[in-house]
């Protein structure tokens, strides 16, 4: 699987955003992963623990928001979930299907810590 390459990409996005926001530490990372992206959560977390070492995002907790794959039949309008294998529309057996969910694959947000600004407010 290609989780290593993907995890490196996540790290890059996270560190860039952390830097832009003056973070000293990244504690949490929220990801949305659609079922059709063929990514295994555990593998991403495994690689993450290795490649984030020594960065300010070391030990950050990854939170996976999983989106199920959903299809819409273009024949009868029925919406149904794709569980494991592709099937025709369970309502009308139509095969003209459109994917309406499950392709998402993004970094949504990070939780960061910042230095507390000790300068007295005037």
């Amino acid at each position: 699987m290609h989780e290593l390459a993907v995890t490196e990409s996540i790290l890059q996005i996270v560190l860039q955003s952390a830097e832009e926001n003056g973070a000293t530490k990244v504690t949490d990372i929220s990801l949305t992963i659609g079922a059709l992206s063929s990514i295994v959560d555990d593998s991403v977390q495994f690689y993450w623990d290795h490649i984030s070492k020594g960065s300010i995002a070391e030990e950050a907790k990854l939170h996976f928001n999983r989106i199920l794959a959903k299809l819409k039949c273009q024949n009868c309008g029925n919406e149904f979930q794709l569980i494991e294998e592709l099937t025709p529309c369970p309502n009308c057996q139509g095969i003209n299907l459109q994917i309406i969910a499950g392709e998402e694959f993004q970094v949504d947000a990070i939780e960061i810590e910042k230095e507390v600004n000790n300068e007295p407010k005037s």
Binding site: I13, V14, L36, L86, Q106, V107, D108, A109, E111
Partner: protein, 221 residues
């Protein structure tokens, strides 16, 4: 002090930007590029060799070979057929990405090419997720793999421009329900351009080669 920062950035963005750069480079040099994907053993190299043999002599072709291990068997076969070939050893990675292809493009004299074939790593899952910057995605499915592959690997069937069904000479010996297979493909990629052929016997190869040549010529403008 703790703070939540909204990002909402697609994880594949950086690969896709590199793919776009590759595409621009190919277009600048007038090279039509195809990405050939398949499972291991579907006949990628055999079909590439057969394709090379059937292309017009004046069509200048190059090949980028993706491999997971540092063996040069496939690249040697291509070089022996007289083509410039660059091998990318992915170091165990399961797919080519846009960065690897970009580095390989630097090693080729693109002005001396009309057509570039990229042979991706044999795999039906990972290559589907990584854009390379090529103009057309080709998937080779082969009869002995079974007729259920579109149902089990929907992603790769959705992101292709041409499907080649290889090893049709084995149809009499294998339980392969062509209707069932094609219905799965139709669900994922309606109206997909499909060629059924045998790289071994050569049956059906010419129609595929004709399509390819037509694409190369029309991309020259």
């Amino acid at each position: 002090m703790s703070q939540r920062v909204e990002i909402v950035k697609r994880i594949m963005d950086s690969n896709e930007q590199l793919a776009e750069q590759n595409r621009q480079k190919l277009d600048q040099h007038g090279v039509f590029c195809i990405n050939v994907m398949a499972s291991p053993g579907a006949g990628k190299t055999s079909l590439i060799l057969k394709t090379i043999a059937n292309l017009p002599d004046d069509l200048r072709l190059g090949v980028i070979e993706g491999d997971t291990a540092p063996v040069t068997i496939d690249a040697d076969k291509i070089v022996n057929a007289g083509m410039p070939a660059v091998q990318i050893n992915t170091g165990g990675d399961c797919h080519l990405d846009a960065n690897m292809v970009g580095l390989a493009l630097d090693q080729l004299d693109l002005d001396a090419l009309d057509l570039l074939l990229i042979e991706n790593v044999g795999n039906l899952i990972c290559p589907a997720g990584f854009a390379l910057g090529n103009h057309a995605n080709i998937l080779i499915a082969s009869i002995p793999e079974g007729d259920d592959k579109p149902y089990k690997y929907p992603n790769i069937y959705r992101n292709i421009d041409v499907l080649i069904i290889n090893k049709t000479d084995l149809l009499p010996y294998v339980d392969f329900r062509m209707d069932y297979f094609r219905e799965g493909v139709e669900m994922l990629n309606p109206g997909l351009k499909t060629f059924a052929l045998s790289a071994k016997t050569g049956e059906g190869v010419q129609a595929w080669v004709d399509w390819l040549v037509e694409k190369v010529l029309s991309s020259r403008g």
